[in-house]
């Protein structure tokens, strides 16, 4: 024991000898006004934009933190992060000489944290490797590369006709309660074993909903690679405002290590509302819908940080799935049009489809992916190529066919095919389908192998086909998943597999 004691004493002596007392010069200011999570500060003349401020309340050792947002002629407007109830007029404010940072590292995986990187899941402190600034300039042209690898969402309609690539920004837009978050969650669940880190940023959501979601992710084993950044509905607007940037900073850590990250911003309309609140309290002039003038920049600088880097710069990627909630399907409101123009495509969810039972209620006509088939594996490209057209034609014909009863044979066939297609696109929540299975079922459809299956039996047929393929066609499924392409031989094998399966069911129309 004596060695330890000596060692400690020796170390202590060395450390103290090393320690040089220095008078530190600090810039201080005083709070002249505080309220609604906003403080106005006098002094601190050399403060930087978005610099962190430390607020020390007189007569208490508790410290609060703020961020300088408005640098005016003789005062500074700052947002207060966290609880502002203890802050009084006259409290001392010190500049910390650094921009707002969040802890990043492997330690955040599987955790639920607030936008400052503090744990909210009741587990131990985050073991941070580094600190990253929340605001960062997006990667430049030289470092980027075209999007070419797919993100498999596991949702058939999306993977087939609106493919998402790694590094893409795909907006999910629709009314409330229509399955926007469900698409994002299913995508996260399907990333298991796909070499992806996921970050889910909940902005202004009910904490009960987020708790349910985390439980679901845990149950699906998705928390092994997922981080949840939560700024709840009861958190101040300042936290809601920095949440997506903090989430993105955490994603950038993995990007810098050359890994692929999927980040979901759920949702950016609440983020814009929080920013509007802050801006109005800081007395910035209001513009359209009372949003400040820089609300476009607010989202463009965030989404521009999604990228696919070229191999010389690590080859990592950040795929962003921002979510926007519309009011009564109004896509032409201010924030939705802004975000639509920033992103590389959108998935539009339609209330009518949802209530008809077509879930996920993806509108195949209004939804687009500007990256397109570059983000699909070859096998999927082959089977899904014609499907978008077919889906669009079906919708047109279905409206038209309601009038007349006498249709020619070709139109009838198209209608029947379309009915089966929209039946296949129906999919339950939390049940993503592996890409090889998707290829198999789409192959069956476009080759007319499902034309003799009754429409109401399609989902049963599909489920049975997956099961049958897992037992008797495991080799074929494995080959699709590994080679990612269809050869003539493989196509023939798939055909026999499907025909064999059809032999085992009795509801085929003769």
């Amino acid at each position: 024991m004596s060695t330890t004691k000596d060692f400690i004493v020796k170390q202590l002596k060395e450390q103290i000898a090393d320690f040089k007392a220095k008078a530190k010069e600090q810039t201080v200011g005083r709070i002249v006004e505080v309220g609604d999570g906003i403080a106005r500060i006098e002094g601190i003349a050399d403060v930087m934009m978005s610099e962190m401020l430390e607020i020390v309340s007189a007569g208490s050792s508790e410290k609060a933190y703020g961020v300088a947002l408005n640098l005016e002629e003789d005062r500074v407007g700052a947002i207060i992060l966290g609880d502002s109830s203890r802050i009084k007029e006259g409290d001392e404010v010190r500049c910390l000489k650094r921009i707002l940072q969040v802890p990043v590292g492997e330690g955040i995986i599987g955790r639920v944290v607030n936008p400052l990187g503090q744990p909210l899941d009741g587990k131990e402190e985050i073991n941070a490797e580094k600190f990253y600034p929340v605001e960062k300039i997006a990667p430049g042209v030289i470092t980027r590369q075209g999007v070419r690898q797919p993100v498999q969402t596991g949702i058939k309609v999306i993977d087939a006709i609106i493919p998402i690539g790694r590094g893409q920004r795909e907006l999910i837009i629709g009314d409330r309660q229509i399955g926007k978050s469900a698409i994002a969650i299913d995508t996260i669940i399907n990333q298991r074993g796909q070499n992806m880190k996921c970050i889910y940023v909940a902005i202004g959501q009910k904490e009960s909903k987020v708790a349910g979601l985390v439980a679901k992710l845990e149950q699906a084993g998705a928390m092994d690679y997922t981080t949840v950044v939560l700024a709840g509905a009861s958190d101040p607007a300042s936290l809601l405002y920095i949440a997506p940037y903090a989430g993105c900073a955490m994603a950038e850590y993995f990007l810098d290590k050359g890994q692929d990250v999927l980040i979901v911003y759920d949702d950016l309309s609440k983020h814009a509302v929080a920013y509007r609140e802050i801006s109005l309290l800081l007395k910035r002039p209001p513009g359209r819908e009372a949003y400040p003038g820089d609300v476009f920049y607010l989202h463009s600088r965030l989404l521009e940080r999604a990228c696919k880097l070229n191999p010389e710069h690590g080859g990592g990627s950040i795929t962003a799935l921002p979510i926007i909630e519309t009011q009564a399907g109004d896509m032409s409101a201010y924030i939705p049009t802004n975000v639509i123009s920033i992103t590389d495509g959108q998935i539009y969810l339609m209330p009518e489809l949802f209530y008809q039972g077509n879930r996920p209620a993806v509108d195949a006509g209004l939804s687009v992916s500007r990256v397109g088939s570059a983000a699909q594996i070859k096998a999927m490209k082959k089977v899904a190529g014609k499907m978008k057209l077919e889906a669009a034609q079906f919708r047109e014909l279905a409206a038209f066919a309601q009038f007349g009863s006498d249709l020619d044979k070709e139109t009838k066939a198209k209608l029947e095919r379309g009915k089966r297609l929209s039946e296949i696109f129906k999919q339950g929540q939390y049940s993503p389908v592996p890409v090889a299975n998707q290829v198999l079922v789409f192959f069956a459809l476009i080759n007319g192998l499902m034309d003799d299956v009754p429409v109401e039996k399609i989902s049963e047929f599909e489920a049975g086909l997956y099961k049958y393929a897992a037992n008797s066609g495991a080799k074929i499924i494995k080959e699709i998943a590994e080679k990612k392409d269809l050869t003539d031989k493989l196509e023939a094998e798939m055909k026999t597999l499907i025909m064999d399966y059809k032999g085992t069911v009795e509801y085929i129309i003769k």
Binding site: F19, A21, K24, E25, Q26, G29, E42, G43, A45
Partner: protein, 133 residues
């Protein structure tokens, strides 16, 4: 637009700068009249504060507060004053002394919006942090 206390104070300074005592008296009487006209008498206190700030700034006067645990000798005080004059390039340094047992030892100097913290308390806190690391 409403006139801010700062603007009032600035105009008062500019009007009164370099005038004799009797002239200043007249200027102030006029100034009060203007305040009454603008319904701004209630700002008088703020205007006074701003005026002192502007006066100090224009005349090159720096007000500093020196906080010690047990008071300082005359000589050290003089050295600190000279140091501050050198640091801020001020013509004159006005020092307010204050005693605060809580800082344990050393000295804390405040001037403008800056703090020079050479107190024993903060150095001990720093040492503690370093040892924890």
């Amino acid at each position: 637009m409403r006139i801010t206390p700062k603007q009032f104070a600035l105009s008062l300074y500019e009007a009164a700068d370099g005038k004799s005592a009797s002239q200043v008296k007249a200027i102030i009487a006029k100034f009060i009249e203007i305040l009454v006209k603008n319904n701004a008498l209630s700002m008088a206190e703020k205007i006074e504060k701003e005026f002192l700030k502007i006066w100090n700034e224009r005349q090159g006067i720096v007000e500093a507060e020196i906080i010690t645990a047990h008071g300082l000798g005359r000589e050290i005080m003089k050295m600190l004053k000279d140091y501050l004059g050198h640091l801020t390039k001020a013509k004159e340094v006005v020092v307010h002394e204050k005693e605060d047992k809580n800082i344990l030892g050393g000295v804390v100097i405040r001037y403008g919006d800056k703090i020079l913290d050479g107190s024993l308390r903060s150095q001990l806190a720093e040492l503690k942090e370093k040892l924890i690391k």
